[in-house]
């Protein structure tokens, strides 16, 4: 009951979207049925393709989680170091700006050529998409920590390790987590690009595969499935974020 009360706005908008889709398709047939199949048809197809969708989910999550976790760990470590060391920042910033400006999908041929397997190439591309965003926000976050927190730590003679984990990272965490959130969405988009070449399964592969056969009822099923997965993952991420940022005003 509490769930419905809390999410009544979300449920209401969801119902509106479904009703709108039904009206535009089955109701008034405004949208072409070939590209926008009846919702009932898509629902009826679901049991038959659940296995394939779950297999795709497993494959996609492997790529996504591996790349994203690596990106988070490396970008936060490196970003903190660069944010704290003026000399590193001065010398590396032009290169960070130059490399991060290259659209990651354009690097696909290079990744396929350099990495031995499709999986490794895909992980690299997803990793890269997430890495630049988290790196940039971490550098900015560490640089903009209020000086008074650092002075407070200095007055307590905190050793570097304590200062890093008890002061610098918590103080920078609100901005770093914004970067992580954007990077997660970008990773999803990059996952779709990565699964378009050489993949044998995956959520985006499912959509691409049936699109090639003009099975837009299954494409629509794939879209719904990806949306649900994305909503669940982002919700989990938001809960984690709220837990880490429990000390801020908005949590």
């Amino acid at each position: 009951m509490q769930f419905f009360k809390r999410y009544q706005g979300v449920i209401f908008i969801g119902v509106l979207l479904v009703v709108g889709y039904v009206l535009l398709t089955d109701g008034f047939q405004v949208l072409p049925p070939f590209l926008f199949p009846s919702l009932g048809k898509v629902v009826r197809l679901t049991p038959g393709y659940t296995g394939q969708l779950l297999e795709g989910l497993q494959s996609s999550l492997f790529l996504l989680v591996t790349a994203y976790v690596l990106a988070v760990a490396m970008a936060i470590s490196l970003g903190t170091l660069i944010g704290l060391k003026n000399i590193l920042r001065r010398n590396l910033t032009p290169y960070i700006n130059a490399f991060s400006a290259i659209p990651v999908p354009l690097l696909t041929p290079y990744a396929i050529h350099i990495f031995p397997t499709f999986k490794a190439a895909s992980i690299f591309l997803i990793w890269l998409a997430a890495f630049w965003v988290i790196l940039g926000t971490t550098i900015g976050a560490v640089m903009s920590i209020d000086r008074r927190y650092l002075e407070n730590a200095a007055m307590l003679e905190m050793p570097p390790r304590t200062k890093l984990f008890r002061v610098i990272l918590p103080a920078a965490s609100p901005t770093i987590l914004v970067g992580c959130s954007i990077a997660l969405t970008l990773s999803f988009m990059m996952l779709a690009v990565a699964e378009m070449f050489g993949a044998k399964s995956g959520m985006a592969f499912f959509i691409q595969y049936y699109s090639d056969f003009a099975r837009f009822d299954l494409v629509m099923l794939g879209f719904f499935f990806v949306s649900v997965v994305l909503v669940v993952i982002m919700h989990g991420f938001d809960r984690l974020k709220a837990r880490i940022l429990h000390w801020t005003l908005n949590n």
């Binding site: 927190y149 407070n152 007055m155 003679e157 008890r166 918590p170 429990h246 000390w247």
Partner: protein
């Protein structure tokens, strides 16, 4: 308990001279109020004593030793940002104790924290509260408790009650005085920055009045033992009121002088143009 010695202390941010030739000798256990208008460099002087800014060697000695960096021998209470907002109020004291008393058991640290919370009249229920959940006065109480808990010989307070309402401010002034006086001979040397003449009179054993930037000391006053004003009687004590008026007059004169020199400077600039 440290004495503090400032000898021809000068300090500049970039090329702008903030402190010009400050000379001051204080004894261990003194409660020194640095009084002056905003921007006169009193907070900068406090930051130099804290080691948060660097002075030239030999100009600033604390306990006979030059100040090179911040130290647990000097606790600082800031106006804001005294506590880390991501830690509970109790953990803010705990982390300071952990730094000061290496190897102390967690249970012992908690015991000391709770004792100090009791000293500042906050019960155990506040231990797990986040700074965000506390009022400004409660946050400053925790900052005071943390500063006293690590038992530094020198306590530096940078307008700690500047953002509080009058009642809370009075209560905390009394708390600080009580804690400072409690330990008798072992009492800490305190440097307290304020722009309020009344606050300086209530708290300080010594009042150091600083003039406008580049700052210099324009007047000092030391209360003889037993002469220190009390909140209840100071406004009816002619001697205290005379001192109060004298200090306010000196501040006014300093401001007028500054305004006059600014006008002259502007007129000179316009003349040249």
């Amino acid at each position: 308990m440290f004495d503090v010695s400032l000898r021809h202390l000068r300090f500049a941010y970039d090329k702008e001279l903030v402190l010009g030739d400050i000379n001051l000798e204080t004894r261990a256990g003194d409660f020194v109020c640095l009084l002056g208008q905003s921007g006169c460099g009193k907070s900068t002087l406090l930051r130099l004593i804290a080691g948060l800014e660097r002075s030239d060697p030999g100009q600033l000695l604390v306990g006979g030793k030059p100040v090179e960096r911040p130290s647990l021998d000097r606790a600082m209470i800031f106006q804001d940002y005294g506590l880390f907002p991501w830690m509970s109020a109790g953990d803010n004291i705990d982390i300071a104790l952990r730094q000061k008393f290496k190897g102390m058991e967690k249970a012992e640290r908690r015991k000391i924290t709770l004792e100090w919370m009791k000293n500042i009249e906050l019960d155990e229920g506040f231990y797990d509260k986040l700074p965000l959940e506390l009022s400004g006065g409660q946050r400053q109480r925790f900052a005071i408790a943390r500063a006293f808990a690590i038992d530094p010989p020198l306590l530096l307070m940078d307008e700690p009650f500047g953002a509080l309402d009058a009642v809370t401010k009075s209560l905390l002034q009394d708390t600080v005085l009580e804690l400072w006086q409690k330990v008798g001979e072992r009492r800490k040397t305190v440097f307290f920055v304020t722009h309020s003449v009344d606050e300086a009179l209530i708290l300080g054993t010594h009042i150091v009045l600083m003039g406008q930037s580049p700052s210099r000391i324009i007047h000092t006053h030391a209360f003889a033992p037993g002469e220190k004003p009390h909140r209840d009687t100071m406004y009816s004590d002619p001697k205290v009121m005379e001192l109060r008026n004298h200090l306010i007059r000196l501040i006014e004169e300093d401001i007028q002088q500054k305004v006059k020199s600014q006008k002259l400077g502007a007129a000179g600039g316009a003349g040249k143009a």
